[in-house]
């Protein structure tokens, strides 16, 4: 077959296979599967299908052990996204995905196409996308390159999301030296579908037509996702750079409407988006899931560029394209709908029963390979693992030798001014967080809360809560514990609205898995993910693995981004994360321990990134989340704010100024504990939530019954945040004497807000 195509194609041999990223063993395996040398197009197919990005060959053996089932889970990992029933005959479908490498090369288009891709994963399953989140990480902002990357990425996410009419309701934004050579852009989307109307990516029904719909195919992104995301960056990757994919949100918006409309005809059998490795990956996966084959004619594919070769047509990653299978003879209905939306839609092939992929071009067969060995039975590796030699050194921290904080007030200012803790409003003001009219809590709260409206526009009483979280430093210090903490934090954020965590999705961003130390981090992280998901009753219903996040041999911190989704039954009863009125009691749920390892304070005030991350008690987390759900439902809890980065002092300050613009509410807080004051103020012990309530006794009683440690620490009101410390020893001798109570913090909330609000803008305004 090779050479018979009439175009000048390179000679296919082992050397070319290596250039395509295939190992020598993989090359042998291809020869065995085919019983001959592959054609150039076939080689391209094997290389993308067996790339890390498409095959998960390094991670799959570990991912297998994750808990993926649950009472409400309708679709687990393996499809475009996972689905969970939320009652009322509805399901939420969600997933998170990375677009790290393309965004580093071209931040605006890379991020934009990342949003476009995750949206297609969602609506291809029959769901209307109703909410997006983004998790983005950069190098330090004193580097002009990273200021431009941040601006470009935010512009890309906003430009695309705003235009397609899907609100971006939350996310996270982080900065660290480890991302200087490799930024992270993870995009999450959640859609809503009828529970009995979920579409799968299956090419079933021998003889059924295979339809290509959406944008025309160009030369964009050939080997983009697959090769770029499956190799490290180095000086040479510039030369190998594929044509950058440009997002076309207008076409995507039309595609969303057309697909949702077409799905209602009842003639669609299967549908999937053309993501990484384009036409190849989507057709192989659809045939593989249905245990069928596909026969396709490339001459029918709508083409944007002249003289596209079969290799290019098969591997192009042009955006905004879908592959559909309909019932034979009824395709007209679907084609008409696409035409109404001015979108290309053509029959390009048929489903066959022989389990082979046969592709024709200019009257010749350019591909003829069995589906399963390429898709379902791609190579899997149990890669070597090794504990990093410096792990013990990372984890070493003798608190006694760390000089206590001498000026807590100055420390608070430094923390609030850091880009990691400061306001992210500069980012999210550029996102339309309101479109679709369901945003109850948008960016700025602990978790976003989105009211559920049916496709016909009638509102339900339900709302969906979601949050995306990770503390990469903790994951670097201890990947397993750090990942557990990320799951716990994300679920806790969701619980702070009053919602019950349902399920989660994850994006595992790691370095080069061929290095045993990185592989160890990945395996440990997945282990922690499984443990936490199990313990919190939030199965893993979808996810994405992004490896080779390193440049010139320097890997990013392990960054398993976790997004937990929860359900609130009565949207009118929810809690917010800021103080709403003066005169309420402030309670602290959970326990503050002397934990400063891996904290922001330790890094910003002592220049240290070391120690063990704070411990997580998953049983406590679950009880705490249950208590919050009950507290909110019963109307006792009006404010609930997770205590995370920066500790209690930062959390209290945030409660005072993150409400509606111009509303500031101070607090008087008295802490009585026997631990060092800096740990009390800035330690990041997990499992803690600040709540404000009008009925502290009732809430304390409930907490006692739920076995959640709780204590009243103060009252909301005034224009100042005042935190005082009465050491326990004094209490024991009969109540604090006035002179022994020290004032740790005493500041105007407005001043704290001003510092916090300027953290990112003032750095972006630097020259250059």
């Amino acid at each position: 077959m090779s050479g018979a195509t009439g175009v000048r194609e390179p000679l296919v041999d082992q050397t070319l296979a290596r250039e395509h990223g295939l190992s020598d063993e993989e090359w042998q395996r291809i020869l065995e599967i085919l019983g001959r040398t592959p054609s150039y197009s076939e080689l391209g197919i094997f290389s993308v299908m067996w790339s890390e990005h498409c095959s998960y060959k390094s991670s799959r053996v570990h991912l297998r052990n994750l808990p993926t089932r649950g009472e409400h889970v309708l679709v687990g990992p393996g499809e475009g996204a996972g689905a969970v029933a939320i009652g009322d005959g509805l399901a939420v479908i969600f997933k998170i995905e990375s677009h790290n490498h393309p965004s580093f090369i071209e931040p605006t288009q890379g991020a934009a196409t990342g949003v476009g891709g995750i949206l297609r994963d969602i609506f291809s399953m029959g769901a209307r996308p109703i909410a997006s989140l983004d998790s983005i990480r950069f190098g330090p902002l004193d580097d002009p390159k990273h200021r431009r990357l941040l601006e470009g990425v935010v512009h890309g996410i906003g430009g695309y999301g705003n235009s397609v009419g899907v609100p971006t309701v939350g996310g996270e934004t982080g900065f660290h030296e480890c991302y200087r050579g490799n930024i992270l852009v993870n995009a999450f989307n959640l859609g809503l579908a009828p529970a009995d109307g979920i579409f799968l990516g299956q090419a079933s029904g021998v003889g059924n037509p295979v339809i290509y719909a959406g944008s025309k195919t160009g030369r964009d992104g050939i080997h983009g996702a697959s090769l770029l995301a499956s190799a490290e960056f180095d000086a040479e990757s510039d030369a190998k750079r594929p044509t950058v994919q440009v997002g076309d949100p207008f076409t995507e918006k039309c595609l969303i409407e057309a697909c949702l409309e077409a799905m209602r005809t009842g003639v669609i059998v299967g549908i999937q988006d053309m993501g990484a490795a384009g036409l190849t990956c989507s057709s192989f996966e659809m045939a593989s899931r249905a245990e069928t084959g596909i026969e396709m004619d490339l001459d029918c594919v709508p083409q944007r560029a002249a003289n596209l070769s079969p290799y290019e047509l098969l591997l192009s990653e042009s955006q905004e394209r879908m592959l559909l299978v309909t019932r034979a003879g009824e395709e007209r209905q679907v084609l008409d709908i696409f035409e109404r939306w001015d979108l290309d839609a053509v029959v390009v092939g048929r489903v066959t029963g022989d389990g082979r992929m046969r592709v024709h071009w200019h009257g010749q067969t350019v591909v003829d390979i069995p589906v399963d060995p390429v898709a379902a039975n791609a190579p899997l590796y149990e890669r070597k693992q090794r504990v990093p030699a410096d792990l013990a050194a990372r984890q070493k921290l003798d608190l006694a030798s760390i000089e206590p904080e001498a000026d807590p007030q100055a420390a608070l200012a430094v923390l609030l001014d850091s880009p990691n803790l400061g306001s992210k409003a500069w980012v999210w003001r550029q996102y339309d967080s309101l479109v679709q009219g369901n945003t109850v809590i948008g960016p700025g709260g602990d978790a976003a809360l989105v009211r559920v409206k049916r496709e016909d526009g009638t509102p339900t009483r339900k709302a969906v809560a979601m949050s995306v979280d990770c503390n990469p430093r903790w994951c670097w210090l201890d990947p397993r514990a750090g990942t557990i903490a990320a799951v716990a934090e994300s679920a806790r954020n969701v619980a702070c609205t009053g919602a019950r965590p349902l399920a989660l999705t994850n994006c595992l961003n790691f370095g080069n898995p061929e290095k045993p130390e990185i592989m160890w981090e990945l395996a440990e992280s997945i282990r922690g993910l499984g443990e936490a998901a199990e313990a919190l009753g939030t199965p893993v219903i979808s996810g994405n693995v992004s490896l080779y996040n390193e440049t010139s041999g320097r890997a990013i911190f392990p960054t398993p981004t976790i997004a937990v989704v929860g359900l609130l039954d009565d949207v009118e009863r929810h809690a917010v994360s800021h103080f709403e009125v003066a005169g309420l009691a402030i309670l602290l749920l959970g326990e503050t321990r002397e934990e400063l390892g891996g904290s922001e304070w330790l890094q910003l005030r002592r220049g240290l990134e070391a120690g063990l991350p704070p411990s997580v008690d998953l049983a406590h987390e679950r009880r705490l989340q249950q208590l919050l759900a009950e507290g909110v439902a019963s109307g006792l809890v009006r404010t609930a704010h997770d205590v995370s980065n920066g500790g209690l002092a930062v959390a209290l300050a945030e409660c005072g100024f993150t409400g509606p613009a111009g509303v500031r509410i101070g607090a008087r807080v008295e802490l009585a504990d026997g631990i060092r004051p800096d740990a009390l103020l800035f330690g990041e012990s997990t499992g803690r939530v600040l709540v404000a309530t009008g009925n502290p006794d009732a809430l304390l009683e409930r907490a006692r019954a739920a076995a959640v440690p709780a204590r009243r620490i103060g009252t909301t009101g005034g224009s100042r945040l005042v935190i005082r410390h009465a050491p326990l020893t004094v209490l024991a001798s009969g109540g604090p004497a006035a002179s022994e109570v020290t004032s740790l913090i005493d500041a105007e909330v407005a001043n704290l807000e001003a510092i916090w609000a300027r953290a990112i803008p003032r750095r972006l305004e630097q020259a250059g």
Binding site: I105, E106, Q109, S215, G218, R219, D220, R241, T243, V244, Q245, V246, G247, D248, F250, T251, R304, A305, S318, Q319, D342
Partner: protein, 81 residues
């Protein structure tokens, strides 16, 4: 001096704007419009010792600031005193 710089999308890169405009023309009845590509135009007023220096400066500026060389081409179209 006054200069004009053109920045255009590279030929293989998708230009959704241009495509949409072409379709708009067609639906307005201008069937003769076969292809449209949208680019950027910069009118720049600058001080430079001579035209050669101006051109050097403009090319540098275009590469660094006016164009995104990953997806765009640029050229200095005119320089007038």
């Amino acid at each position: 001096m006054k200069a004009l710089v053109h920045v255009t999308v590279k030929p293989d890169v998708l230009d959704p704007q241009g495509r949409a405009i072409q379709r708009g023309c067609a639906s307005l009845g201008y069937r003769g419009v076969r292809d449209v590509r949208q680019g950027k135009l910069f009118e720049i007023e600058l001080d430079a010792p001579d035209r050669a220096a101006a051109e050097r400066l403009l090319l540098e500026l275009a590469a660094k600031l006016l164009a995104n060389p990953v997806v765009e081409d640029y050229r200095v179209v005119s320089i007038e005193d």
